[in-house]
Symmetry: D2
Subunit: 91 residues, 4 copies
C-alpha cells in the first residue's frame, strides 16, 4: 500500500490499539472476568476491525480505482482485488 | 443502474425470491411455527440480502469505477457512492 | 412460537414492512434507478432483517431459556436451537 | 467466567492467535504490503473474532442460562447479559 506517511501511521495506530485490545482480553480471560464483560470486549474488537477495514477499503477505492493517474491495467487489478475481498467479507 | 438486460433480470429474480422468503416468513409467524424454524428462515433471508448486495456492489465497481470509458467526474462520483454505502454497510 | 398475541403482531408487522421494502426494491430495479439508491435500499433491508432477528432471538431467550416454568428438557432444547442458529448467523 | 480449565485455555489460545494476527498486520503495514493482502489479513481477523465470540456466547448459554443448577435470579441475569450484548453485536 503506497499510502501517504500520514495515512500509513493512522492505520498502524489503529492496529496497535487492536493489539492492545487483544492483550486486555487475554488478561480478562486469565483473571476469569464475567462473561458479560468478556463479550462486550470482543464486540468492541469487532467494531475496531470493522472500522479498520472500512478505512483500508476507502483508501483502496481512492488510490487503486478512482485515481486519475492509474493505467487501465492497474485499475482493473484494483477492481479485481476489491471484488475478491468483498466476496469474503460481505458474507 | 444501466445494467445489461441480462444482469438486470438476474437482480430482479433475486429480489423476487427475497419477497417470496418474506411472504413465507409471514405465514410461519401466522401459523406460530417454532422459534428455531423462524430464526433459520430469517438467517436465510439475511444470506439472500448479502448475496444481492455483493452482486450489486460488484456491478457498481465494474461499471462505475473500473470501466475504461468513464469520465473522471463519473468515476469520482462512483467512488463517492461506494464509499458512502460501505460506511453504512460495513459497520 | 407461542408468543403473546401482541408480540406476534409486532413481528408480523416487521415482516410486512420487509416485504414492502422488497417490492420497492424490485420497482427500483425495473425503473433502472441509480446504483447508489439501490445499494442504500438493500442496506436498509439488511438493517430491517437484523432488527427482526434481534427481536426474535430476544423472545427466544426469554421464553425458551430464561422462563421459570420451563422443564430442563425444554430449556436444553431452547439452548440447542439458539446455539445452532447463532453458529450460522454470527459468521 | 467460571470456565473449566480446558475451556479457559482454549479461549486464551484463540485470543493469542488474534494478537499474533494483529502483530502480523502491523508488520504488513510497516512493510507497505499491497492493499489486497492487507484487506485479506483484516478479513481473517474478523473471522477469528466471530469464531471467538461464537464460542464465548455458546459457553454463556450453557453455563449461565441452560445449566440445571442455576437459581432463577442467576438465569435472569444471564439472559439480560446475553440480550444486552446481542443488541450491540447483531446490528
Amino acid at each position: 500500500m503506497s499510502h501517504t506517511v500520514h495515512e500509513k501511521q493512522k492505520l498502524i495506530n489503529r492496529v496497535r490499539r487492536l493489539r492492545g485490545q487483544a492483550e486486555g482480553l487475554e488478561r480478562m480471560l486469565e483473571e476469569e472476568k464475567g462473561c458479560g464483560e468478556v463479550m462486550h470486549a470482543i464486540a468492541g474488537m469487532r467494531g475496531a476491525i470493522s472500522g479498520l477495514m472500512g478505512e483500508v477499503i476507502e483508501d483502496h477505492i481512492l488510490m487503486h480505482l478512482a485515481d486519475a493517474n492509474l493505467t487501465q491495467a492497474e485499475r482493473d487489478e484494483g477492481a479485481a482485488e476489491l471484488i475478491d475481498v468483498l466476496r469474503t467479507y460481505l458474507k
